[in-house]
């Protein structure tokens, strides 16, 4: 089934594929984010309860959703690496980790900045923020373990195992934190962006989610290119490529 993917298990082909895919992701990112954010900032009506502060939703929600999505994608890459023993799968896994952590940080920061006017305090142990914080720690764990090994093959396998344990835990963490939150605080705190959202607000949100996907793809590809180069530094094609770029 995956036979057509096999050539990309070779790093040189994978690098070329990165270059091929880059423009698509980049244009998706630029288009999606500019349309989505301008639409959301300028044209969407303001919320009757939260006023214009709700406009943070156009970064907070995409980054929150996609930081989880990126973790799942990372774990899938790790699984592919473990099952089919592909070097490039581990490489894409570890290329996704810092991007996912970045997006996770963005969602945490925007969550806090949204929380200040809404709840009067920067940080509150709200269910979504808490599980987002734990997710950030999970990302740190994967990266810390990967870079603790000096042998990259070993590092990839070890980090993949931890990523898989993390991905099994994400739903458990998510629901347990939600439950813990209701247990300790009741329903006094309105969850952000939870009730059904008006279409005039929803469409720009969907567009900016697509834009964020493009952005994450672009950043991952950029990072992946570096990871490939770092791993294959001793190969002739890398040397040739880099010295060509230097003379340019």
């Amino acid at each position: 089934m995956f036979v057509w993917l096999h050539p990309y298990a070779k790093t040189e082909r994978a690098y070329a594929l990165c270059n091929t895919l880059m423009p698509y992701f980049l244009s998706a990112a630029v288009l999606g984010l500019s349309v989505g954010l301008v639409w959301g900032m300028l044209f969407a009506p303001s919320d009757y309860q939260q006023g214009d502060s709700f406009r943070i939703i156009y970064i907070h929600v995409p980054s929150a959703i996609l930081s989880m999505g990126t973790y799942v994608a990372m774990a899938i890459a790790g699984l592919v690496g473990l099952v089919w023993q592909w070097k490039t799968a581990y490489m894409s896994m570890i290329a996704m980790a810092p991007v996912g952590a970045l997006v996770c940080f963005i969602s945490l920061f925007t969550g806090a900045a949204w929380g200040k006017p809404m709840w009067g305090t920067w940080w509150i142990w709200d269910a979504r923020l808490t599980s987002q914080l734990i997710l950030l720690f999970l990302y740190f764990g994967v990266m810390a373990l990967y870079y603790a090994f000096s042998d990259r093959q070993q590092a990839g396998k070890a980090a993949a195992i931890i990523a898989l344990i993390g991905v099994i835990n994400i739903p458990i963490i998510h629901y347990s934190v939600e439950w813990w939150n209701t247990l300790h605080q009741g329903s006094t705190i309105t969850k952000i962006g939870k009730p059904s959202i008006a279409p005039s607000m929803k469409w720009p949100l969907l567009v900016s989610i697509a834009g964020f996907m493009g952005l994450i793809g672009t950043l991952t590809l950029m990072q992946l290119k570096n990871v490939i180069i770092e791993r294959e530094l001793h190969r002739p094609w890398v040397k040739q490529l880099l010295s060509q770029q230097e003379t340019k």
């Binding site: 734990i134 720690f137 999970l138 740190f140 764990g141 994967v142 810390a144 373990l145 603790a148 090994f149 042998d151 093959q153 070993q154 396998k157 070890a158 195992i161 931890i162 344990i165 993390g166 835990n169 458990i172 963490i173 347990s176 934190v177 439950w179 813990w180 247990l183």
Partner: protein
Amino acid sequence: MSPLYSVIHRDFTLAMRQKADIFQPLTFFVLVITLFPIGVGPAPETLQKIGPGVIWVAAILSALLGMERLFRDDFNDGVLEQMQLSNLSLSWIMFAKVMTHWLLTIVPLILISPLLALFLNLTMPMYWALLATLLLGTPILSLLGSIAVALTVGLQKGGILLSLIIIPVFIPLLIFATSAVDTALFGLNYLPQLAIIAAMLCIAMALTPMAMSYAIKVSHQ
């Protein structure tokens, strides 16, 4: 002698010869818990409120502290290599080792918990709930933690890394365990929480031995 029995027997013998490995996590556990009344003040209501959480956090930390050495000696002197080559399944050996380790280092923590319940002013129903969560929950700590131990065993700076990669995974357990004890304070039914912890234990028992043996193979690469 049955092979698995010999694995358990050997670890018992070794533990009896190095008693510090048993007593250090235990002392650490009691010490950390002693810090809290001093840190937050001795008011009985406050202590009762934070008690379950404190005991569980201390249990997680001291379990991790004790676990760090779980495979280290066997890795360094090459016994793990021979385990890998033996005609016994590595998963079973690992499982036996982890459970022995649980008996030797965690069960003493559970045995000393009445004293801590007294320190932190827990009521009787709370104590029973605490005991039940510790009995069901600490094997999960051991099983999941040992995957991380197996992964970091070959690394020089394994200690803190171990905590970094595995503590986030323990959070659901902490939530359910402490909430069971809190529920017991009000005399309510805490069986649902226990059932969830038991379910997590079942899943951990089913999946972790396989993951552990794979992790050991990765470390040995």
